[in-house]
Symmetry: C2
Subunit: 222 residues, 2 copies
DNA sequence: ACATCTCGTACAGATATCTGTATGGACATC
DNA sequence: GATGTCCATACAGATATCTGTACGAGATGT
């Protein structure tokens, strides 16, 4: 089993709860906790530098802002930063997020190893998730694993994501086309972008750009 | 102090935590709990019918969907339904929501009496909130109370809300104008709507409709 | 080697958005 | 009663959106 685990979770009670489960139910000795993403990153760096790296990171997604100014405000940034240094570290996300598209995005884009949904059965789920991840299994939450084709997943490529993000920032398609060109991202043809967005309309059953952005915002995809 | 309180919160641990505080820290004897909005409503109706009504409702906003099919899926609906029967019941919302605009909206539109943010200091905040609400004080969370003019609040009237909601559903302004006319809501002139939306652009510093909807979605206003 | 399909691009027309100006009524202030 | 300020509406023009057709380049299959 894992011997050294880092827990990043700002909500103190939940933090203690996770530690208690790791210690008493799973029997992990060496657990460190952090209430802020930056603190978590510092502990991670220190352990890595001292050749005593963490094997598993359990992190929340959203961290409340408070008086302490943080460079990282989201678990996603923490995951990216940690993975850029130690790519093979296992990552389990523990969050209240329950939107399938968002959770799938975490596995697709951030290549997390497991996801546990805060809620009624979080204890049982967390235990089996940690055990599964230790066996190199990708541990989908039961909600997703049980009916994998319940919602026909929409696959978004990189350009789709960029388009959605830029549209949400209020840029026109022309401005986006110019941006893409400047950044050397291709394809960037005018009507290719139109086509891409039209396809997104079909996929999400949106009537127009505004509706599309409202839908993907609700889904938490951007 | 309150003698009879109803707690609606689906996350069991939090639910028990609230009850423990109400009992041991504040000394309230008669507390009932519910994990579902519908259950909470049933308990409320029963107590009201039996002339033994609740004096205070403490409720979460979001309730997880599970196998039990619910007619109410949000604390907001619960508040509306409860208030329509017993308008003078005190309501405290206990949620992880921390967006000032959204919380302000709860006070403005749902006339809640207090708000407690899930988090580090939730225990202290909950105690003072319950005590304040008992004294007929409107208990803003400390984040909002401390700097009331930190974010210059944008006042949205009914038409603004309707416009934002309909735009988010993908209706064009022309369609919205016709809808308003059919519903007998006025003003509904073509350029009045244009002007209203333009003002929203200014208020939220949005470049266009799509950007506007992205912003208000992020703020949780729709 | 040929047909077929997808991908990326170009163009064009109908519709919608956004911004500006103009007009008349309601209301208050002086 | 004259003046200015909102409020609600109308109209108009430049820009953007959305949809459809068309065309070449490359990949795929048979």
């Amino acid at each position: 089993m894992f011997t050294k685990v880092l827990v990043a979770e700002d909500y103190e009670i939940a933090n203690q709860g996770i530690i208690r489960i790791l210690e008493e139910e799973i029997g992990i000795q060496n657990i460190e906790e952090a209430k802020y993403c930056d603190d978590a990153y510092m502990k991670f760096r220190k352990a890595y530098r001292e050749q005593d790296a963490f094997e598993l990171l359990i992190t929340d997604l959203s961290f409340r802002a408070d008086h302490k100014v943080q460079t990282r405000t989201s678990g996603l940034e923490l995951i990216e930063d940690v993975r850029s240094i130690q790519p093979d570290i296992k990552v389990i996300v523990y969050s209240q997020e329950n939107r399938p598209d968002k959770i799938n995005m975490l596995f697709d884009k951030f290549e997390i190893d497991g996801y546990v949904c805060k809620g009624q059965n979080a204890v049982k789920e967390l235990i089996s998730c940690v055990e599964g991840v230790y066996q190199d299994t990708i541990m989908l939450p039961p909600e997703l694993a049980s009916d994998p084709d319940a919602a026909p997943m929409i696959h978004l490529d990189d350009i789709d994501i960029i388009l959605l993000e830029e549209l949400a920032k209020g840029y026109t398609k022309k401005e986006i086309r110019i941006k893409l060109k400047e950044l050397g991202i291709s394809p960037n043809g005018e009507s290719y972008i139109d086509k891409k967005v039209s396809k997104l309309f079909d996929d999400f059953k949106a009537k127009n750009t505004t509706h599309l952005i409202a839908i993907v915002k609700d889904l938490g995809l951007v």
